[in-house]
Amino acid sequence: MDIFNLTLQNEALTVIFFAAVFIPALAGTILSLMFRYNKVANLIAGLCITSCAVGIAAYPLRALGVPLSYTFPLSSAVGDYALAIDQISSVMISLSSVIFMLIVVHVVKSSSDSGCRYSGLLNVLFIASFLCMAADSVLVLLISWEMITLSTFLLAKKGNNDRARWMFFVIAHIGGLMLMCAYGYLAWVAGTQTLSDWNGLGAIVGSTTSMILVLMIVMGFGTKLGLLPFHAWMPGLYGTAPTHTAALLSTVCSNVAVLTIFKSIYSYIGVTESMSVIAFAIIGLAAATALWGAMESLVQKEPKKILAYSSVENMALVILCLALGMIYINESPVFAKLILIAGLLHTLNHSVFKSLMLMTIDTVEDCTGEKNIGRMGGLAKTLPLLAVVSIIGVFSMAAIPPTNGFVSEWLMIQSIMGVNLQSKGMSLLIPLVLAAVGICGMMMAASYARLYGFIFLGRPRSDGMREPRPMKNGTLLPMAVLAILCVGMGFFATVIMDVLTTGVVSVTGIAPSPSYRSVMSEEMLPLILGVLIVITSVAVLLVVRPGKEREVRTWGCGEDLGKEMQYSSIGFSQPLVRVFHPFYGDTTVVRETKEGSKKTVHTEFTEPFVRYLYMPLGNAITAISEKISKTQTNRIQTYFGYVLITLIAVLLAVRIL
């Protein structure tokens, strides 16, 4: 009787949970369609926040044993619309909801991107991401993924940025097409469209097909994550779209993509020994992407573009981990577990620090009206609190202990180095991957130093920076929460890692023992390192207390320092541009001014992938289309002619065949 009651209660709880997630967000969507007043916008955003807050409960409910699976009382010709939240999805849903909620709070408070339409679309995006993470049938997965693409496309509208948006739209749909083919084929093979029934379909379709499917899924979701060469939309869209849209794209949408890739590879398709070829290919692609992102981020002129390339790099590292796991899983399962935990942890960490940084940039742009990093500077003096939260985010991105970014990179290197692979060919991979991770890490650190240094430090480089408007009330709150999360998730990383272990074990089917801790450098838990750093710094502070201090103007060789008389952000990365010159696509342009006596010299950076891949491709397609359009003469006689020719051709074909 008790057991019966419990199940009944649990089922009721599940329904209440899903209802509480969907109803406010749906109400918000409908309201946004009905009203256009700005007063309603806050209500709509509030509904979205409510939904997010309920979404956070996914992990606790799951941990309490509530099943969290539900089939909608609808059905289509293809099958049911079912939701089921397993352990790993519940972790992702909870954290993504936290991030989503904080971003929406920031949207409301900062009011730089407000409006009914924007808030309504936020509701749609939340529903879509939630559905995609909770999907238990292919239909829900594909539809919600498409909804994510469409709603972010609409959310990205700001001013006249159609070029960037359409590039995103087209590239995202190339990905969507690949996913549709891959999942459609899998559903056909499996004979069911319920995802939780798909288990090791790779064994049925054979290794070659499953390798192609894995590649299609990774590349399909990779279009959103920015894998080469699909990263081309990112800087453009991040630079021109509302910052909060960029924040959602780079955090919540990336989480969705990583989660689905992970489940698809390890559970739906399943990894067999013969799949290492594709793992190698993905590792190579991910390493190249990471290096590319790290390099390009150094020369970007807008903070948001720096962060766009940083997302490219971080997500490439996550894909690298997932692909390495495919090799490890047959050779040394415990290391596979470690590297998958590292990858998933990095995804979570990335969403925390990246949303923090994008909010910071939004606040900076809002307060100063400046978008170009070359004209920023000196904000730490005028907006000190923003500088404090921002430096925590930067430390976290640059993987400085004891923040969360450090923990996941440290785990990554440990699992790359610690593993003992059987075959020598595969072992050779280790130094190369390690070198890539090492170079990327330092390049990104340099890029973040540049990001922070040229926004917050030095002297103001333009008038807008000299006297910024004060921050809007309450905008600091979500950033402060995220900054605390950055540090807290670093100190208590092992707690999250334990939680992720359960998920990884249940998805991959690796034996729960030995625990990942048995191969981790055991004594050095992140917590101990964090505490040691704190103790040591307090000790240093007590021994050498700050002495007397006098503030003076920066010495300028006897001159008054003008605002340009300091290092520039583009000059900062110039030495590296010279070292890695061919990869940057940098061209020096010399222009004569109108008087003819003076010449200006400046360096332009064009993303080589755009110049050498997308532009020629686009031009070719345009040229072909123009050729075809010549056949459209707009005269009825011509079309009758075409009909006649087609008819004859078809008849002939039928006769001959």
């Binding site: 000190p384 070198a435 201090e549 003076v552």
Partner: protein
């Protein structure tokens, strides 16, 4: 772990910190003698630090809170590293001594210094930071890979005392292409990381070629004293790592008096040899042009990569 061992490890930790200005003094002295100068006393760095600690700091009005934090972050990083470095005895006082964490603590130091260089808003600091970034993009991976090579070679995990102990126990058998290549990479890294000639000249300020000193230009008084101590400590830690981890023979593994006495003698000889080497290098080689540096640094990177590849191929 008994009390004697703990006392010994605390002692070696303190000794490592305390002798670091002396090492710098010795290098300067040897260098001066090679150039036919008398040179300052080898204890001069202690006097300099003492003087700086007493002086008031002059801080740029553009500098933010982070500028004041940088010296503390640097000292914290270096003290933590000193606690993780085996010196006379094979064990270390820190409750952990993970080599990857060590590399990241170095990054923490470097990152704080690079960001700190951008405070103040003068052209010098930015230039120093910019060049440091260029160098560290190539140095840092070389450092990581060369240390990781040792970890992979010994197969004992990431604990520095295990790595050092394992190479020590293996004796001459541990000498392999991997060790030698990694050692060579580490030597170049050491010279570059500590901004010595030919990468940088630690003795000059206000020179267009400077890197490290450029980032320190805004510091004064206590802040400068701490940054200088951190730099000296960094040099000592690198020299010690070369002497006790890459080529650890002679380092005491047990607590016997004879071993320890031998170990003290051996480490003194090792440090002096390395100091002599650095001084010799600085006397006979001119500083490189900034854009020649990447060639040398890439060589170090390539050496470390070859070290690790040789491990799997040979």
């Amino acid at each position: 772990m008994n009390y004697l061992e703990i006392a010994l490890m605390i002692l070696q930790f303190a000794a490592l910190i305390l002798i670091s200005p002396l090492i710098t003094g010795i290098i300067r002295k040897i260098k001066a003698r090679m150039q036919n100068k008398v040179g300052a006393s080898i204890f001069q760095p202690y006097r300099d630090l003492h003087k700086l600690l007493k002086k008031e700091s002059v801080v740029s009005e553009n500098a933010s809170f982070f500028f004041r934090l940088v010296p503390y972050i640097s000292m914290t990083a270096m003290i933590l590293l000193a606690a993780m470095t085996p010196f006379v005895y094979g064990g270390v006082i820190a409750p952990y001594s993970d080599v990857i964490a060590m590399v990241y603590i170095f990054t923490m130091f470097r990152f704080a210094m690079i960001v700190g260089g951008l405070e103040g808003g003068s052209a010098f600091g930015g230039m120093g930071s910019s060049r440091e970034v260029m160098m560290s993009v190539l140095i840092e991976p070389a450092l990581l890979i060369s240390i990781m090579t040792l970890s992979a070679m010994t197969g004992v995990g990431f604990n520095i005392t295990d790595i050092s102990g394992s190479i020590n126990a293996a004796g001459a058998a541990a000498i392999s292409p991997a060790l030698l290549l990694a050692g060579a990479a580490f030597v170049i890294t050491m010279v570059a990381e500590n901004t010595r000639v030919p990468f940088d000249n630690p003795d000059t300020h206000l020179e267009l070629t400077m890197v490290h000193e450029g980032m320190l230009i805004e510091y004064s008084g206590r802040g400068l004293a701490m940054m200088e101590t951190a730099s000296m400590l960094r040099l000592t830690i690198f020299m010690t790592l070369l002497g006790t981890v890459f080529f650890p023979w002679g380092t005491a593994m047990t607590l016997s008096i004879a071993d320890l006495a031998l170990s003290v003698a051996v480490i003194i000889v090792k440090l002096l040899v390395i100091a002599f080497g650095i001084a010799l290098l600085e006397s006979i080689i001119a500083k490189m042009r900034v854009f020649r540096m990447p060639n040398m640094l890439t060589a170090s990177f390539a050496l470390s990569l070859m070290a690790m590849i040789s491990l799997y191929v040979l």
